[in-house]
Subunit: 152 residues, 2 copies
Amino acid sequence: MLGADETLTFADTLVRCTHLINHVFADVSREHGLTPQRTQLICMLTRGPLPMRELGRLLHLEKSGLTGLVDRVEERGLIVRQPDANDRRAWNLALTPSGATIAADCHAAITARIEALAADIPAPARSTVVSALQGLLQAHTAMTGRPWKLPS
Amino acid sequence: MLGADETLTFADTLVRCTHLINHVFADVSREHGLTPQRTQLICMLTRGPLPMRELGRLLHLEKSGLTGLVDRVEERGLIVRQPDANDRRAWNLALTPSGATIAADCHAAITARIEALAADIPAPARSTVVSALQGLLQAHTAMTGRPWKLPS
DNA sequence: AGCCAATGGTTCGCATTGCAAATAACTCGC
DNA sequence: GCGAGTTATTTGCAATGCGAACCATTGGCT
């Protein structure tokens, strides 16, 4: 089974690629002393502070799960909880300097590893892939009403 | 930030897509009463039985973690451990009828959901995406020496 | 003003995940 | 048939993530 290579469907190809990138993500995280979830969290904050509720939506986490994750990442000194000026229930999460550094390092490492794997893909095909997948992301955004962010 | 749309790099696009598909995978799994890991396990077996060591490599799991996962999936009646004729240490894992049914259902549901998101991508772009990403998968295979399987 | 539903977070209990190290059973080369 | 390497299991542990109960605050409604 799985001879030289069979013809994969579009969906199957995407799913396999997803699992490959998952492991790239996990490997890089581990090399930086982080779990994938923590890496994902700090990468979400590279564009600026976010309230927890927003992070929960982006990460698809229930609030209880997010509380724990934030606790652990804060203990490690990568983020801080800041009170929200307009709502005394809410907290804004911001990267500390070391958190920002690590987030940037992880993002760079992940990008580098993917670029290495994609080195043989010609430029025109690359840009086709980018626009096609962005269409896919937008289709999801349109369906759920919320944009899909991540690394940077 | 993130106005109408910024220009994402190839790697960033792939990473965002990865997280989107992760959640598609998780959602479908949950709707079938499974965790993503269990779904992934049974999907790996749709092409036929595999020894545990092979599954461990495909899933990137340490053997101890795999033992536990297999235990739980077997308890649920989706797979069975079969003794290996040639090696009395080894076990082959095979889907039960109900396991095969659920695996096929999950695979179909995931494919359908991705196809729905990709409905607006023109056919030529699709095939470009497929061949580009397969190149990426092969680059990884060449680097690590092991093929990358999944769903079907 | 006063009340009440909805919202943002936390806490608790729980099952699952996944690693590492130690152990047992077996295979294979010498 | 000895010893090294391989396959799987067990144990202990930290992290993940859900659900439900709970508290404080907000905001609408009267």
